[in-house]
Symmetry: C2
Subunit: 320 residues, 2 copies
């Protein structure tokens, strides 16, 4: 029998039970008291090293993630340090903003790893977590940490603000593009330039690699001098070309941030997460406001043009 | 001299002053007391009819918007009712989530209309509005309403959650696709299926129209029966082909929602807007929390693993 208590589940997950781990992640997705109890335990363990992978649909992220899993397990450590023999993978499929549902992506290519006991793959969806995926994903990362995972890949599909936000809450963020993909403006719009530590031009056996590289480098030039200038690599994920170089780039970036910057990096990340929790919590508390007569009165006033949303909100908040 | 007082600016804008209107919209973008005063006035006027246009970059939204402006002005009314002789256009360029900046899109194709006194075009960016673009855009629509505009087009670039949210807060929402664009999953992910009243397959002179139409119709079939089944139209915006049919579809949708549904539709929209204002306001109030010693203590506790973000947030909120 698989236990239901988060503390027992964490103990089991730490011993290697995938069923226990899966249940904990379901708690995280579902919200409520089980999620809070799980978080209380998960945040006691150190965070794994997190590699975020994002990019537009069809860029080849899944295949590249596949290759990274294989490479990481073959290496077994970062440059000889911090050994790991397991890789956790969180696949984030953005929920529809209207149904709250999620459609699982095509994970077929990852099925090679599905039966590999050293790899744990999970597609995440929001099912009730207070703050949606942008809070559920960091919680899930910490749950994997509590289950002894030292390396976690977070793959997000899409380049919207939320996907970018999730992917960028990583220690090393990889943005996957393709030859001919977009122009300077497209990348800037989505904030990808600001979050990428490594750009990968995947499908680099196709025409247009030089132009895409030139565009990216020009954008990086415009971005001014930074301590870490994002690397631009070329891969052909389907043939494994460039994966070794990508792993080396990840190790290089990790070495860079470990030199005094990892603590600061994680402090910044923790602030962002705490702020999101505070906002979600307050939002949930004031949700009750939206079901009373006073609220309906304000909506009526809004529709008749006798107030505006700012005065209406002030009125409701001062009465609550 | 252009006045600075919102009340005077609204009076001028109502008389046709574009400079006054532009300043009011800058107030809306910038937030603060001028924005609040502007909103208080703007929400007294009835809302214009809002047509939202969204879709991925490069789908041809700007050209299609161009054609819609020309067609709308040539018609001068919806099916003979509710005459208008001006069209307001808000172009929403998503901000980078990290710099807070915005890059204005290529508005060159709209320059034909830039000197047309019957058309008012504005690219919007967030500059300090409490709730970002998702609140600034509805405010801007109401400001246009206060300036006597009866028809407003809101064009958003991109298919991220925020862009979809902004475009779908319209009376009629048009989603622009291209032949060969994505598959069933792509559209579902972004929530486009749920928000579209009309799908436009633009660039319909290219190969793949039948497949794209079939995919869209299949997805709509899967969506179950609805009172309004989204129409699927084909256009070639560069040659104006299909624009007349698009206008007719807009009129048909407007007639549909006017039959008892417009009030309900706008009530729902008003609720969504009020909820966003409440959340933004509370968030702004608790922002001060993030600058005190108590907050830093909680961050330290988080980094040392002695608390989790949920307990930390509870602690801070109970102390505030």
């Amino acid at each position: 029998m698989i236990p239901r208590e988060p503390a027992e589940l964490v103990a089991r997950a730490r011993e290697g039970s995938r069923t226990a781990l899966a249940r904990l992640l379901t708690y995280v997705e579902s919200g409520g008291s089980a999620q809070l109890a799980t978080a209380a335990l998960a945040y006691q363990a150190p965070s794994p090293y997190v590699i975020g992978i994002t990019g537009p649909p069809g860029a080849g992220k899944s295949t590249l993630t596949d290759q990274l899993i294989t490479t990481a397990l073959a290496k077994g450590s970062f440059d000889g340090m911090d050994a790991f023999d397991e890789v956790g993978v969180l696949c984030i499929d953005p929920s529809s903003p209207f149904t709250g549902g999620a459609i699982l992506g095509d994970r077929i290519r990852m099925q090679d790893h599905a039966t590999n006991e050293h790899v744990f793959i999970r597609s995440m969806a929001t099912r009730g977590h207070l703050g949606g995926l942008s809070l559920a994903v960091p919680d899930a990362v910490r749950v994997l940490g509590a289950a002894n995972f030292r390396l976690v890949l977070v793959e997000t599909v899409g380049v919207g603000q939320m996907e970018v936000e999730i992917a960028s809450a990583a220690d090393t963020t990889i943005v996957v593009t393709n030859p001919g993909w977009g122009d300077a403006m497209q990348a800037s719009k989505a904030g990808l330039l600001e979050v990428a530590d490594i750009f990968v031009i995947n499908k680099a056996d196709r025409a247009g690699v030089a132009e895409t590289r030139r565009d990216l480098e020009q954008m990086l030039d415009l971005g001014g001098e930074k301590e870490w200038r994002p690397l631009v690599l070329e891969t052909v994920a389907t043939t494994n070309a460039g994966t070794e170089e990508l792993w080396e780039a990840i190790v290089a970036h990790r070495t860079f941030i470990e030199h005094g910057r990892l603590d600061e990096h994680r402090r910044t990340r923790m602030r962002a997460e705490l702020d999101k929790v505070i906002t979600a919590m307050v939002r949930s508390r004031i949700g009750a406001l939206a079901h009373g007569a006073a609220y309906e009165d304000q909506i009526d006033a809004l529709l008749s043009g006798t107030t505006d949303p700012y005065r209406a909100a002030e009125t409701l908040l001062s009465e609550s």
